[in-house]
Structures are given as structure tokens and as C-alpha cells.
């Protein structure tokens, strides 16, 4: 078998330019690898015949010299709408749903002439932290197939980590890009809220959701983010920030930067081996004249409660659209419209999704909206202000991504709270709308990857990649 997909994007691009390989070689290799590693269950739907025919068509065209992403295979999380390619959200509810339009990020990927290999497995409607709530079964961690991939973008993480494709898109509502990236040893970025259009992303919690890149290296992550960002008239929350090259600071000096580590991120909730790895990173930073302070930040320990209220509330509203009328699953057992709603939703949604919709509906009903939702939004504001204060003095907030390494596929199955607690360290970033990046910082005693979380101020992704790339080289 060829091993072109083991090469960096720049190396692949050189080979394409020199006509030593064609996009078809890359696509065939990707499908061969997917077949060999079928057990990973990282894909729900493959786009094989279309991808092969598009790769052949590209092979007839001139390689775009300045476009490093030209002809590169990419995998897409299955909650991002792809015209003509089934998009299930890993749910029975959308098992046969084929979008009739592309999400804005998909249009951008197509403009760059990347090749969509397939749609990746995930937690149902992105609700979970293990990808085990998928209607299509859980994906497996390529680092150890008996372990979870994390979630909800578990399939995207697994296919990059397992070397099936070099690039993937995920989405992150409360850590769903960064946490699986950490568990599988890859790089995952949740950009600033509004950087990337959410048009065509099937909504979970609209004020938290953000699409982002999942890749093997920091450079490739920045490269992919370059093509995703920009204002979109179809997403009123997208930012009017100018397009920039996120790779531009990679390789530049980090001396003089200031980093804060909240004491909560190194408290007893985090395993000692992970804290030890973080301290090794701190040593590297200090040796390179980066100032590192341990600080107190209020409200971080309330993040899970806030998330439960805000995310479940928004989810119950967003998922009200799945009623069996215009698209999605409709129960055949219904003699009235009311029965159609009840039965379609009961049979179409899985257990975790139903639980969250029910709690969310309760939290938003009558007086509860004031007691729970409004109060959560008040504390959310206070949390954002805490971050604002920290960023007046520091360039970054650092911490671990997770409290442990990836656990066994059969562990914690009946614990309805566990999936929330898995994201305790990453949720604050979504609350404040900040960018968060996960990069590998070593392995635990179980030989499973450990992720470093770099939190930047809003719109400072380029600076985050600068620090991340420096550490990526030092930690190797």
C-alpha cells in the first residue's frame, strides 16, 4: 500500500505539483485505510463513488500552486449538512436524511477543492462526551481500541488519529472538538464564537456551538482554519473579522509571553499524572522566558451546572423541530398529530437526547426560566468577565483538557452525570465564546494521550498556534 497519507500536507502538495501522485492516489489510499481499520467505526457514511469521480476530475486539472489544501481528503462530522450526502447526526431520527444544501463550511471546502471522504461518527446530536450515544455504535480509539474516543466529535478524532485521513471537521458545544482530540492524541481547535459560520450545522445549543478543525499537527490545523472562517450573511452571529493567515506567527519567538494557570485546573479533580505533565510544560515555558503564574478564577467550578442549564435549555428548543412532519423519522404508529409528535420523538431519539430535551423543557417552562436559565446567564456573564480580567494581564490561560485519560468503552455506562463531568475543564471556553486549542502533551501510564488546553483571548487564534507550535516541537 502507498503511504502518501503519512506525509505532511506540504509534502503531499509537492508531490501533486510534481505530478508524482494524483488526488486519486490519495483518495484510494484513504478508502483502503478505512477498510483496513473498519473496526474503528469512525465513519457513518462514506462518499466513495463521488469522491473517486471528483478525484479523477481534479486529476485532469492543473494543481493550484498556492492552495495547499488542493486535492486533500477530508472527513466531515455528521452534523454538518452536505448536499446529497446523508447527514444523520448519529440518530435514528435522521437516519435517511439527505440535505438539499451545503453548510457554508462545506462550500468553502469545495472552493478549496478538497475531497470529502465521508461523514464521521459522533454522539447523537452531539450530546455526549464518549460518542457512545451514537445510533450507529461507538467509534473506537485508535490508540487502544478498548477505549473511548471521547466526544462528541469522536469519529473525526479517530479517523485523523488512526491515519485514515489527514484532516477532519468537528463541532464543539462544550468541548466536543478538544476533548476527543486530547483522548486520541491529535490537534483540535474550537475557534472564537462567530469566527466560523454555523449555517448548515445542525444546531444543538446555538450560543455555544462552533465548527473547527481537527488535524495531526498545529500547522495543518491553522491551515484548515484559514479556509473555514469569514462572515456569512446566512449566520447572523458570524463575525465581521477580516480574513487572516493563521499560520503567520508559527515559528516566531515566544519569549516574554505571559501565561496564567487557574488553580482549579490543577486541583484534586485532575489526575496527578496529568498535572505532572502540565508542570513539565510549565518548566519548558519558563526555560524559554515565558512568565507563568498560578491564579484564582471564580466560577470555573460552576461550569458544568451552567452548561447543563444553558445547553439543555437551548437543545430542547432547537430539537423541537424534529416532529415527524417535514423531515426526519415519523412513527407509523400514530392516529393523530399529537400521537405522531410523541411517538416520532420517542422512537426517533435515543435515551441521552430524550433525557436532555426533557430536562431542558422543564428548565425553560414557566417560572423555571427565571430561576434557572436567567440565573445561569447571569453567572455566564460573570465568568466571561473573569476571563476578560485575566486577558488584560496574560496572553493565554493554560490547563489540561481532561481530568483523566480515555477510559474503557464499557466504563461509566449508566452514569447520566459522567458525560458532563468529562468536559468540566473545557466548558468555560464555550461559555465565554473564546478560542480553545487542544494539543498532545505526552502520554499517561496507560500509554494513552494527554492533551494540553491553550485558551486564548477572542480572535487570537494565530497567537495560540504560535505557542502551540513551539510546544509541539519541544514536547516531541
Amino acid at each position: 500500500m502507498n503511504k502518501y497519507l503519512n506525509l505532511s500536507i506540504q509534502e503531499i502538495h509537492e508531490l501533486l505539483l510534481e505530478k508524482k501522485i494524483t488526488p486519486l492516489d490519495l483518495v484510494k489510499e484513504a478508502y483502503q485505510r478505512i477498510e483496513e481499520k473498519e473496526k474503528l467505526n469512525s465513519f457513518i457514511t462514506l462518499n466513495q463513488s463521488e469522491a473517486i469521480s471528483y478525484a479523477k476530475q481534479l486529476g485532469e486539472e492543473e494543481v493550484e500552486k498556492e492552495n495547499l489544501l488542493w486535492g486533500i481528503p477530508i472527513a466531515i462530522k455528521d452534523n454538518i449538512s452536505t448536499k446529497g450526502i446523508r447527514t444523520t447526526c448519529a440518530s435514528k431520527m435522521l437516519e435517511n436524511y439527505v440535505p438539499i444544501y451545503d453548510a457554508t463550511v462545506i462550500e468553502k471546502i469545495k472552493e478549496k477543492k478538497m475531497i470529502i471522504i465521508g461523514k464521521t461518527n459522533m454522539d447523537e446530536f452531539a450530546m455526549g462526551s464518549t460518542s457512545r450515544t451514537s445510533y450507529f455504535g461507538a467509534p473506537k480509539n485508535p490508540m487502544n481500541e478498548a477505549k473511548i474516543t471521547g466526544g462528541s466529535s469522536g469519529g473525526s478524532a479517530a479517523c485523523v488519529s488512526g491515519g485514515l485521513v489527514p484532516l477532519a471537521l468537528g463541532s464543539d458545544t462544550g468541548g466536543s472538538i478538544r476533548q476527543p482530540a486530547s483522548y486520541t492524541g491529535i490537534v483540535g481547535m474550537k475557534p472564537t464564537y462567530g469566527r466560523v459560520s454555523r449555517y448548515g450545522l445542525i444546531a444543538f445549543a446555538s450560543s455555544l456551538d462552533q465548527i473547527g478543525p481537527m488535524t495531526r499537527t498545529v500547522y495543518e490545523n491553522a491551515l484548515l482554519l484559514n479556509c473555514l472562517v469569514g462572515k456569512d450573511s446566512k449566520d447572523l452571529t458570524s463575525r465581521d473579522s477580516s480574513i487572516e493567515d493563521f499560520t503567520r506567527l508559527i515559528g516566531k519567538e515566544i519569549k516574554g509571553m505571559k501565561v496564567a494557570i487557574p488553580n482549579y485546573f490543577v486541583s484534586e479533580i485532575v489526575s496527578s499524572e496529568i498535572i505532572e505533565k502540565l508542570h513539565q510544560v510549565v518548566d519548558i515555558l519558563r526555560q524559554n522566558e515565558v512568565e507563568v503564574d498560578y491564579i484564582d478564577m471564580q466560577y470555573l467550578d460552576q461550569a458544568v451546572t451552567l452548561y447543563q442549564i444553558i445547553a439543555m435549555g437551548e437543545a430542547s428548543s432547537n430539537l423541537a423541530r424534529f416532529d415527524g412532519v417535514k423531515f426526519g423519522y415519523r412513527s407509523p404508529k400514530a392516529d393523530s398529530v399529537e400521537e405522531m409528535y410523541l411517538n416520532s420523538r420517542s422512537e426517533g431519539f435515543g435515551r441521552e437526547v430524550k433525557r436532555r430535551i426533557m430536562v431542558g423543557s422543564y428548565l425553560l417552562s414557566g417560572e423555571n426560566a427565571k430561576i434557572y436559565y436567567d440565573k445561569a446567564l447571569m453567572i455566564r456573564n460573570a465568568m466571561k468577565q473573569e476571563f476578560d480580567k485575566v486577558f488584560e494581564k496574560y496572553d493565554f490561560v493554560l490547563g489540561p483538557v481532561t481530568t483523566t485519560t480515555a477510559y474503557g468503552l464499557e466504563e461509566n455506562l449508566d452514569d447520566s452525570r459522567k458525560s458532563f463531568m468529562d468536559d468540566v475543564l473545557v466548558i468555560p471556553v464555550n461559555m465565554a465564546g473564546l478560542p480553545g486549542l487542544s494539543i498532545p502533551m505526552g502520554k499517561g501510564k496507560d500509554d494513552m494521550p494527554i492533551g494540553l488546553h491553550i485558551i486564548g483571548n477572542k480572535l487570537e487564534e494565530a497567537k495560540m498556534y504560535q505557542l502551540a507550535s513551539f510546544l509541539e516541537n519541544k514536547i516531541k
Binding site: V98, I100, Y101, Y193, G194, S206, S207, S233, K234, L236, T237, R239, D240, Y299, Q302, T305, L306, Q308, I309, M312, S316, G324, V325, K326, F327, G328, R330, A334, D335, V337, M340, Y341, L342, R345, S346, K354, R355, I357, M358, V359, G360, S361, Y362, L363, S365, I371, Y372, D374, K375, L377, M378, I379, R380, N381, A382, K384, S416, R417, F420, G433
Partner: protein, 97 residues
């Protein structure tokens, strides 16, 4: 272990328009209670006034230009509709006899 009553589960499932079976009710009595106990912790946080952060977006709503844009053909839309009659969506009876 504290549990929700059966009536409370039925109330919540009605709000969510999600049908529940007798077996499921038992499970929800426990798991929903756990989640509701968790969110109840918010009452202990000593913040009782201040601005609400509904979204991290700092700019106000920027609306699209009021102009024609691409239309999606009904034939396309129809492909995902579970049941249709001509150009209509077919649903079970909506009014009581």
C-alpha cells in the same frame, strides 16, 4: 435514592412532547432527578443580579439585505418529507371528530 414521582415524569415528558413507556418512566424517575438535583445547585451561587449573557456575540443582529436570493425547489424539499399528497405534506388527523 430520591426519585421523581410518576406524575412529574409524565409532566416533563408532556412538555418535551416525548412519549414514555411504563419501563422508561422508572428509569427517568431516577436519572432525571439526578440531573435536576445537579442544576438545582445553581440556587446556591451567590449572584442574584447582573447582566445576562445570552450569546458571546458583541455586535447586534446584522440582518441580510432585503433582496431576492436563491430559492429551493419544492421537488427537492419533498424528498425528505415522510408523506406527501401532491404538493402538500400529509399528516394524521389534526382535529377531534
Amino acid at each position: 435514592m430520591s426519585k421523581l414521582t410518576k406524575e412529574e415524569v409524565l409532566h416533563v415528558s408532556h412538555l418535551a412532547r416525548i412519549g414514555v413507556t411504563e419501563e422508561e418512566i422508572e428509569n427517568y424517575q431516577i436519572t432525571l432527578k439526578q440531573l435536576l438535583d445537579d442544576v438545582d445547585k445553581i440556587k446556591d451561587i451567590p449572584i442574584n443580579h447582573g447582566e445576562l449573557l445570552v450569546t458571546p456575540v458583541e455586535h447586534g443582529a446584522i440582518l441580510r439585505n432585503d433582496s431576492d436570493s436563491e430559492m429551493i425547489a419544492f421537488e427537492e424539499v419533498k424528498k425528505n418529507i415522510p408523506a406527501t399528497v401532491g404538493n402538500f405534506v400529509e399528516v394524521p388527523v389534526m382535529v377531534n371528530e
